[in-house]
Amino acid sequence: MQSATAPHPDEALLRPIEHPGKGFYILLSILSVILIFVGVIYFRQIVQGLGVTGLNQPVSWGFYIINFVFFIGISHAGTLISAILRLSKAEWRRPITRMAEVITAIVLAIGGLHPIIDLGRPDRVLHIFTSGRLQSPLLWDVASITAYFTASTVYLYLPLIPDIAILRDRGVRPRWLYEFLSWGWQGTEKQKKILERAINILMVLVIPIAVSVHTVISYIFAMTLQPGWHSTIFGPYFVAGAIFSGIAALLIVMIAFRKLFHLEAYLKPVHFSYLGSLLLVMSLIWFYFTFSEYLTGYYGHEPNEMRVFFYKFSGDFAPYFWAMILFNFVIPVALLSNRKTRTIPGVLVASVAVIIGMWLERLIIIVPSLANPRLPYPTGIYIPTFTEWMLFLGAVCVFILGFAVFARFFPIVSIWEIEEGRKESAQIVAKRVASYMPHLPEEPERPPSSNRPEGGPS
């Protein structure tokens, strides 16, 4: 723990790992207590049956499926954003990518468990493997979520290796952990080349997988004949919504860690302004999709479609529907389109609004279609019970716990990428600009040695 002689330039990133402090253990115990309680509640559901939820005959899907779609949606924060930023060689990505990737891994694990929580017979879940039908959209889900989870955990782990090696070399405890996970990383040229190659392959691979995941989740609904679900726009609509909520979650996490770990030197207002602009764009895209979806339904005026439409627009679900429009469109657009409010507090408010709004969107997509069956049944009312609220709380706690444990053992900002950025980004960017900018004055004020006319990454 004391082997470092000269202070590391990124001391701020290493401190939480080398000197965890009391806060971590307090948080850990609070979360554990809550999670044990939630575990008991879930155990009761297993013993007694799904009757302990508020689900009923027309409304056969509720909180669990909403949270499934919601959490998997957030997972798009991560890997997708990090991959796109890396791919587009955005230099400002360096302090952000790690957090984004961690969100994906944790949230995918949480989201992926929700369908199992929702099963009436979780003991039979393996039937999906022994006698699964590939014709069922649920199987497509299993396949693509598994693929995404694998790809994104590897994509989280690979850029982590050099950082783990840094921790190993500083003798941070538990040594065996870093010894094992660093895989003999010495930072040789060859190792660097292989790592870079692997990251490049993965970041390209991860984008189509991420898009497929939420597309296929939307297919669960779109493949049925139910009014409000049977829509071709659902694939892209869900993907856009997922990226939207993902960026919001990423911003909240960034602001939280900036505050907790004092990362003001790493996460500058410019990062929040850039990501805030991205959130604004996604908000507009989300609104465009929502508008098209509902206008198409309304204009056709098919009676069953209209029952669901008015249930949302002016019926029982109107408060949620209009709250969704407020949280997903009005608030973020108002705050983020103005440079004066696109500050860190402004971005935080917009992100929290978007998270609430996107959760409401999932609720509004799932419940009203089920609550308005075509044949004249008594209309279903769905009121979630204590059990469902507790399991929701549990999911949020697992999210915080996952982050706390990760940040306790691994740097939350990629140290080696920051270091690399400090050394090379100015040159890389200068080279890149030189490669496409016409009539650039030959010699800017930097050392001229590396200023060849072409050959840099474009």
Binding site: W61, L119, R124, R133, Q135, L138, L370, R374
Partner: protein
């Protein structure tokens, strides 16, 4: 091969609800009690739907018996992840209770909302326990169930016919609802045999099926009521 189907004559139907009771007893459908029923968890394989008909100047309420429609193109079997529901060779949309994982996707996909879920372990009042039918398995908690056209009766009828060395006759296999209907409003039989009662009934001009435009091809027909 037979193609089992049902025709319900709404002109004859009095809405007495005997089919509902007969079905419930025949198939050991759980009795959930008033509180659960209030939550919308009543289990009925045969239900009576209160439909409002717009007959010009006045609207009229009527009760329509609703079994599972055993679609020829069933939306529920398509989405099942584990083949716990499927259409068998004779057109009956069957449920395999020990295979069902309880994901309730089929419930969400059924445009007629006919499926019920065992939210708790099924139970019966003490007095009714002895009336349970030994031919029908009792479902565990956490699985989906629905009308099977009393397919256990088909099995028994087939064995009986084979033992007597004869063909299966129409009266050998009748589901509980058709058998119990005091008004004779429910006909059941083989849609592929032109001389069967159901085949004769569906040639009636009053014939209709629910939500036909969805293309699900239900095998339960109704004969519309006329004044």
């Amino acid at each position: 091969m037979s193609r089992w189907g049902m025709v319900i004559d709404l002109q004859r139907c009095t809405g007495c609800g005997l089919c509902v009771i007969a079905c419930k007893l025949e198939n050991n459908v759980a009795i959930v009690g008033p509180e659960e029923s209030e939550k919308g968890r009543t289990m009925l394989w045969m239900d009576l739907l209160a439909m409002e008909e717009d007959a010009g100047a006045h609207t009229r309420q009527r009760l329509v018996p609703r079994p599972c429609y055993h679609c020829d193109n069933p939306p529920c079997t398509k989405v099942c992840p584990v083949r716990a529901t499927y259409k068998n060779k004779e057109g009956i949309v069957a449920q395999i209770f020990p295979q069902c994982i309880g994901c309730r996707y089929c419930m969400a996909a059924c445009p007629y909302t006919v499926k019920s879920f065992n939210w708790y372990r099924p139970s019966w009042p003490q007095q009714l326990r002895k009336t349970c039918n030994p031919d029908v398995s009792v479902r565990p908690a956490g699985v989906v169930e629905k009308c099977t056209f009393c397919s256990h009766r088909l099995q028994l009828a087939r064995e009986q016919a084979a033992a007597e060395g004869r063909e299966l006759r129409e009266e050998d296999y009748q589901p509980a609802c058709a058998e119990s209907c005091p008004a004779g409003a429910i006909a059941f039989g083989d849609l592929d045999r032109p001389d069967s009662t159901v085949s004769r009934w569906i040639r009636n001009p009053r014939v209709e099926r629910f939500l036909e435009d969805l293309g699900t091809e239900p095998k339960v027909y109704y004969l519309r009521e006329v004044d």
